[in-house]
């Protein structure tokens, strides 16, 4: 059992959890992830670690509601527990002084890009961060990213905050302005990472992406997380999760991540039906209780 010692809503549907996990906190390096299972019947899902505090023995994760498990997770609060948290898994980000590094965080990917950006800054790099979100409300960790970056650019798809557009627009601008870029680190939706890979391939800029395929054990045992790298299978859990973006077959990643779409939708629908049933039951109980109380008043 792993105790949630703080839960905080960062944006609609995006929550940060600080979890008591002393062993993981001691060992975590940027780029690594945990696998968690909320309850006995739960599935195992990988979640990137945002930060850790070895002194307090805690790690923090940022979770965006999508399927049943993430929705259930995001319904938890301070004091609740998660049945299993295992990690830190995967190879840490390769941190060195590259020169100028552009760190791109798309949506909740920003939470995963953040520790890498911070480590790259500490290693002496000039860090330019690009943070993208659908709208103003979904821009997360702006102050944190500002604190570890030499400059931060923000885009929203609808223009409700900062510049309207996509993170790729900002990266293109940097390239067109002749900014010397030694490394690009991109974490976010697959389409975003693919678009960035396509752009930097032409410019011959080394680019690293963090992949999030379906996983079970996270230790290399099941092989479910295999991704095609230069046409060869590699396991994201032990060989990654970070890979050279120019060698990744993103189409296969999208295809494999769709393997359980029907099941995922069914699971979510059942989950909502259960929640609705529970809410209805609660309403009925309340409704039934009201007349009784009124009768009491009358007497």
């Amino acid at each position: 059992m792993f105790k949630i010692i703080d839960a905080q809503l960062l944006a609609p549907g995006i929550k940060r959890f600080v979890i008591e996990a002393p062993r993981i906190a001691r060992k975590q390096r940027p780029g690594q992830f945990v696998i968690l299972r909320i309850y006995e019947e739960g599935e195992r899902i990988p979640v990137t670690i945002e930060n850790s505090d070895p002194e307090r023995g805690t790690v923090s994760i940022v979770v965006q509601s999508a399927g049943k498990t993430t929705q259930l997770l995001n319904s938890l609060n301070t004091g609740d527990t998660i049945l299993d948290v295992v990690g830190p898994l995967g190879k840490p980000s390769e941190i060195a002084n590259y020169g100028t590094v552009v760190v791109v965080g798309g949506g909740v990917g920003t939470a995963m890009a953040y520790p890498t950006a911070a480590a790259l800054k500490r290693a002496g790099n000039r860090v330019i961060s690009i943070v993208g979100a659908r709208n103003k409300e979904l821009v997360i960790l702006e102050p944190e990213m500002r604190a570890v970056s030499d400059s931060v650019m923000i885009t929203t798809d609808d223009g409700s905050y900062a510049d309207k557009g996509f993170v790729t627009d900002k990266l293109r601008q940097l390239i067109q302005n002749g900014t010397r870029i030694d490394l690009v680190v991109a974490v976010g939706p697959i389409v975003m990472m693919k678009a960035i890979a396509d752009m930097t391939r032409k410019e011959n800029i080394h680019t690293v992406v963090s992949l999030n395929p379906i996983m079970i054990d996270g230790t290399g045992m099941c092989g479910g997380c295999r991704v095609l790298i230069d046409g060869k299978s590699e396991f994201a859990c032990v060989d990654g999760p970070e890979f050279d973006a120019h060698r990744v077959d993103f189409a296969v990643l999208v295809q494999r991540n769709s393997m359980y779409r029907n099941a995922e939708q069914r699971s979510l629908a059942e989950f909502h039906r259960c929640k609705t049933d529970a809410a209805t039951r609660e309403l009925e109980t309340t409704a039934a209780a009201v007349p009784a109380a009124r009768q009491g008043e009358q007497r």
Binding site: R23, I24, K27, R37, E41, G42, E43, R44, K68, T69, L83, D84, V85, V86, G87, P88, L89, I216, D217, G218, T219, G220, M221, C222, G223, G224, R226, L228, K232, S233, F235, V238, V252, Q255, R256, S258, M259, Y260, A263, E264, R266, S267, E270
Partner: protein
């Protein structure tokens, strides 16, 4: 007057014993069990067990024990069955084997004890596995087992991995008075016994009971710890005060065939397929959250001929597969699976495509598997493994329509512990180097055994390594000599 030979407790004269047929194991009917996950074998009754036990020839030099990787004293425990002391028989087995209910079910007895049974020269060998299973189950039903009480030595051992070899080390060392803590990467204990071997061959309740017994003896367990990531071997020794570490992390990474289309949706490794079913209970979706592809009415094939392959395809059959194939590139004679499993699988209607190998997977153009393109093989000269090498027959290609293909062609070394433990020697295939006699590695105080040393093998061989390691760890902790 006096005779040196101990008088036999067996009422049957020696020459009568061979006339008694090997007692059949009662089992669920094949057409029934093909649709459920309940155990196939039902177990001997006390009468059947005693009848079978009386077949033992009580050899002066029992080859059964010599051929048991953990050295179970077969003749002695069988004698105790003959006289009806079933609990005594269980205790006798436990002197050498901490998991009798497990090995009685999954051990390939034909390769060990039963394979060398003198009876087998003329008739069928003694049902040693069935008898072992009987006494272990009897002991469980009686709910009495002895918890040994030994004075503590003050020494601490960390066991990495809670599979058969780790549990053997833990069980043996706790009985020597050492403090033992087992670290497991998954959320459940038991390693391959839990994530790999299905319920119909090894009910999980049996593992839970064995674990409870070990807890009673004082073994501590910690799940959700990936040694090498969550904590390193060096940290266990230097910071957490362990005097010795045993590494039994198991088989590791599943191998793929590296043929086109292996990434299509519908192609699983056997490890993933079995883990989804056994560990994650995906067949109970949506009560359990972990999904798997619906096999109802689908055609499924496993590639490979080992126990894992048969476990996977027989599970697929139980989940409603319409056709369930085993695709194996050699012939029956070379199949590494346990004889009883092959027999059971045939009874259940598994279609064995022998001397056949897939060369490519085909899809619907959207990334979903539709077929395996296969080629027929013939056997040529023996290869490095001593088995005749399969050679493709020209022009024999054909397409086998499939929704799901499960690859069960073996595993390679998981590098997590090796790569995070400086000075730990590995062989060229990445497995940990350990002495065959003492299981000592190249690092002082660090021992290793089971599949992480030998590559994929069997439960009993892993337990044998655990046994040797426990003995050698005890020696090291007692003498301090490396």
């Amino acid at each position: 007057m006096s005779t040196t030979a101990k008088k036999s407790v067996n009422p049957l004269p020696l020459k009568e014993r061979m006339k008694v047929p090997r007692q059949l194991m009662p089992e669920q009917a094949a057409d029934e069990r093909a649709h459920n996950f309940t155990e196939v074998n039902l177990g001997y009754s006390p009468e059947l067990a005693q009848q079978e036990a009386r077949r033992c020839l009580e050899c002066a030099k029992p080859t059964c024990t010599d051929n048991c990787p953990v050295g179970v004293k077969v003749k002695e425990f069988v004698e105790l069955i003959v006289v009806g002391d079933f609990l005594g028989a269980a205790a006798k087995i436990r002197e050498d084997n901490v998991l009798p209910a497990v090995t009685g079910r999954v051990c390939p007895q034909e390769d060990h004890c039963e394979g060398k049974c003198l009876l087998s020269k003329k008739v069928k060998p003694l049902g040693i596995g069935y008898l072992e299973r009987f006494v272990a189950d009897y002991e469980k039903r009686m709910g009495t087992h002895v918890v040994p009480n030994v004075p503590p030595t003050g020494k601490k051992i960390a066991v990495v991995g809670s599979g058969p070899s780790g549990l053997t080390v833990a069980g043996d060392l706790i009985q020597k008075g050492h403090k033992v803590r087992v670290f497991e990467a998954l959320h459940e204990l038991g390693g391959v016994l839990v994530y790999g071997i299905p319920e119909f061959r090894l009910p999980k309740q049996i593992i839970r009971e064995q674990l409870d017994y070990m807890r009673e003896m004082g073994v501590e367990f910690e799940t959700d710890v990936v040694v090498g990531r969550t904590v390193t071997v060096d940290e266990l020794m230097e910071e957490e005060g362990y005097d010795a570490v045993y590494i039994g992390t198991g088989a590791g990474l599943p191998q793929f065939m590296n043929i086109p289309g292996e990434h299509f949706n519908g192609v699983y490794s056997a490890n993933e397929f079995l883990t989804r079913i056994n560990l994650m209970k995906a067949y109970k979706f949506p009560t359990y959250d972990e999904p798997m592809l619906d096999l109802q009415g689908r055609d499924v094939a496993v590639i490979g001929g080992g126990n894992t392959a048969l476990d996977a395809i027989r599970s697929a059959l139980r989940l409603g597969a319409r056709k369930a194939y085993v695709i194996y590139r050699r012939s029956d004679a070379e199949m590494p699976a346990r004889a009883e499993e092959v027999h059971h699988a045939r009874q259940e209607g598994i279609d064995f495509q022998m001397l056949t190998a897939p060369v490519e997977f085909l899809s619907d153009g959207k990334g979903w598997l539709t077929a395996a393109r296969c080629v027929r093989m013939e056997l040529g000269e023996p290869d490095a493994s001593g088995r005749r090498r399969p050679v493709p027959k020209l022009g024999s290609e054909f397409d086998l329509s499939l929704s799901v293909a499960i690859i069960a062609i073996g595993t390679s070394a998981n590098p997590i512990v090796q790569s995070t433990t400086p000075g730990l020697g590995t062989n060229k295939r990445g497995y940990i180097q350990a002495s065959e006699e003492t299981q000592r590695t190249t690092r002082k105080g660090v021992f290793a055994g089971g599949d992480i040393v030998t590559g994929s093998a069997t439960v009993i061989l892993a337990m044998g390594a655990g046994r040797r390691a426990a003995k050698s760890i005890h020696e090291y902790l007692t003498t301090g000599e490396w």
